[in-house]
Symmetry: D2
Subunit: 102 residues, 4 copies
Amino acid sequence: MILEVSISPLNKKSLSKYVAEVIRIFEEAGLNYELNPMGTVIEGEWDQIMPVIKRAHERLFELGVTRVSTLIKIDDRRDKKVRKSDKVESVKRILKEKYLDK
Amino acid sequence: MILEVSISPLNKKSLSKYVAEVIRIFEEAGLNYELNPMGTVIEGEWDQIMPVIKRAHERLFELGVTRVSTLIKIDDRRDKKVRKSDKVESVKRILKEKYLDK
Amino acid sequence: MILEVSISPLNKKSLSKYVAEVIRIFEEAGLNYELNPMGTVIEGEWDQIMPVIKRAHERLFELGVTRVSTLIKIDDRRDKKVRKSDKVESVKRILKEKYLDK
Amino acid sequence: MILEVSISPLNKKSLSKYVAEVIRIFEEAGLNYELNPMGTVIEGEWDQIMPVIKRAHERLFELGVTRVSTLIKIDDRRDKKVRKSDKVESVKRILKEKYLDK
């Protein structure tokens, strides 16, 4: 499955320090991830990803945050294997074909 | 923590049959939940809620759905214990006080 | 269409004061809304709802907030008219029928 | 402000055709956007972005979709000007400094 997650402290103005810590945890866990300006897209299985998200979510409390807001959006397709790179490429291919048609 | 979850089949037009199945799973698991028109709000701990959400998410595939979209939004506050009923009541109390002031 | 919105200040710990202000704006605008512990569900048309959400989002900055996080989730169905109350009732009806079957 | 949007047909299995159409509309409107596997991140002002999202959302109905699910997540910071590229770079800089420290 492919999911996007954002884990944010609610009582801090600057988030990048916390996001960096979250990314460090994803990195150490060996997740296949990709950071974008609004969240992190991860590809893998539920049992491989969710415990790592839990650890990252908990880590913010250890750093002194008192309220954490975490948003997880899962796209799980079982009729065919889709990788996160496929999704973007497939859209780009359609756009390209359309422009060539004109 | 308090979270809201919605688990939707992507290739079906009518969702209520699937939402009913998800709710049945939440009910059987003994979760403290509350259904609204856009999702289900649940109160409890990560390890108590997440395995149930996983089971409900998997159930849709068993029912023949090939693509499932699940959105989980977590609000976790540790400086004081907040229940899901408190959040709505606290807003209503402020609104009431304001109107009395006028 | 039916949507759920949450408008939160990012650098404040207690949110209820701000949520109350948002609800006051929805109320004054005459929106058909329903507050739950994680957001507000609204029924209506895009051009009727979106300017009010913008006003509420802007209001938080006027109250001294410097960073606002707003999440809007829209469910728009055009093949039949669905009201927000229908969605919950339709799920409850299915659950009831299933239990009667047993 | 920076936002992420995903606009999906609910009764179709393959989404890329529809995502391509949405991207074409963003492109024609001259938005500053960036596609990722789970959504599109856009930088700009509310009145510049929201009418384009509405147009893209409506376009799916014109293409025969009967139910559309749109998720918009806004991060609006007013104490300093932040660009979408800054957010990722700022996290990467912190990660780099941490590793150099060791």
